[in-house]
Symmetry: C2
C-alpha cells in the first residue's frame, strides 16, 4: 500500500500550526478575529502550508476541536460510570449533557468557531451525529418519553456553544450554577430524581 510516510518538515509544520492556532483561539476575544494569516504568522509558516495541511479554515477548526474533544469521547466510550457505557440511562443522560456543557465552557471559542463556521450548520458535523445517536438510543429506553430523535436534538440544543457563551459571558452565570440548572432541566425532562410525591 503505497501510502508514503509524510515528510519530517511537514509533520513539524503541521504541529506548529496546530499549536499556534490552539493558543490563538484560546486567547482571542472572538473566534473570528483570529485570521488564517495570523495563525500562519504565529506558527512561523506560510499561508500555503497552512491550507495544504488542513484544507481550509473549517478543516483546521474541526481538527482542533476533535483533538480537544477526544478525552470526552474516550470517557464516554470506555470510561467509568456515570459517563461510560453500562450506566443506566437515567444517570448517563445527565452525565453526558453535563460533560458536553463543561467541554463547551472549557473551549468556548473553539466551539463557537465550529458551530458558527460560516454556512456549515452544526448539524452536519460528524461528532454531532454521534452524540445525537447515542443520546437517542439512551432515551429510547426511557418510559413516557416522546419521539426520542427530536428529544435528543432538543437536549443537545440546550448546550449549544453560543447559548453557553451567552450565559457565561453576558449573563455571567457561574459555571457551577449553570451545571446545576442544566441538571435540573434534564431531570425535569427525563423525569428522574424529582421525588415522586
Amino acid at each position: 500500500m503505497p501510502e508514503r510516510r509524510a515528510r519530517k518538515d511537514a509533520v513539524r509544520n503541521r504541529a506548529a500550526v496546530f499549536a499556534a492556532a490552539d493558543t490563538l483561539f484560546t486567547d482571542c476575544e472572538s473566534p473570528d478575529d483570529v485570521t488564517m494569516a495570523d495563525i500562519a504568522a504565529a506558527a512561523g509558516v506560510g499561508k500555503g502550508t497552512l491550507f495544504r495541511a488542513f484544507g481550509d479554515r473549517a478543516g483546521l477548526i474541526r481538527a482542533l476541536y476533535a483533538a480537544r474533544l477526544e478525552p470526552v469521547e474516550e470517557a464516554v466510550e470506555a470510561g467509568p460510570p456515570p459517563l461510560g457505557p453500562g450506566t443506566p440511562p437515567l444517570q448517563r443522560v445527565p452525565a453526558l449533557l453535563d460533560a458536553l456543557l463543561c467541554f463547551k465552557l472549557d473551549n468556548r471559542h473553539l466551539a463557537l468557531a465550529l458551530e458558527g463556521s460560516g454556512s456549515g450548520s452544526p448539524y452536519r458535523a460528524a461528532h454531532y451525529e454521534r452524540w445525537h445517536t447515542l443520546l437517542r438510543t439512551m432515551l429510547e429506553g426511557l418510559p413516557g418519553l416522546p419521539d426520542s430523535g427530536f428529544a435528543a436534538h432538543a437536549l443537545l440544543a440546550a448546550v449549544r456553544a453560543d447559548l453557553v457563551e451567552h450565559l457565561a459571558g453576558e449573563e455571567r452565570v457561574p459555571r457551577e450554577v449553570m451545571r446545576s440548572q442544566l441538571a435540573d432541566c434534564t431531570a425535569a425532562f427525563i423525569g428522574s430524581p424529582r421525588d415522586p410525591e
Copy 2:
C-alpha cells in the same frame, strides 16, 4: 420638533429594497448567496441607497425579520387564546413554542440569516429577549420546575432556526410531525398531559 418628513423617493426606494430583499431571501438556496449587491440590483437601486436605508446587512435582515414577525407578536400580545394573554401557562407555553416553530418553518432563510448573521449571536437580538422574558414569566407559575430562566433558554433552543432547517431540509421531517414532536417534548418538560399514574 424638527423631524423633517422623509423625501418621497427615499420612502419609495426603501420599499423597493425591502420587497426585493424579501423575495430574494425567500427564493434563495442559502441566505448567504444573496448578496447586498444582488439586492440593490434587484431593487433597481445603488448600493449606497441600500446601506443608507438600513445601515448594514444585519440591519436589513432585522428589518425584514421584524416585519414578518409582527403578526406573531400581535397574536401573542393581544390575540385570542391559546396564544394571547389570559391563557394559563400550561396551554400558552406550548402554543407559543408551536407558533415560533411554524414561524421559522415559514421563514427559514430569513431566520437562518438572522441567527447566523456573522458574529452577532442570536441571543443579543431584541426579540429573543422578549420571547425569553415572556416564556420565563410563564414558566415561573408552574410547579416543580427548575430555574425558569435557563429552562426558557432551553425551550427556545429547541426551535432554533438551524435545527428547524436541518430537520425540515435534511431529515425531511414533515411539518405536522415536527409540530407534534415539539408539542410532546414541551409536554414532557412542563409536565402537563402525562396522566398521573
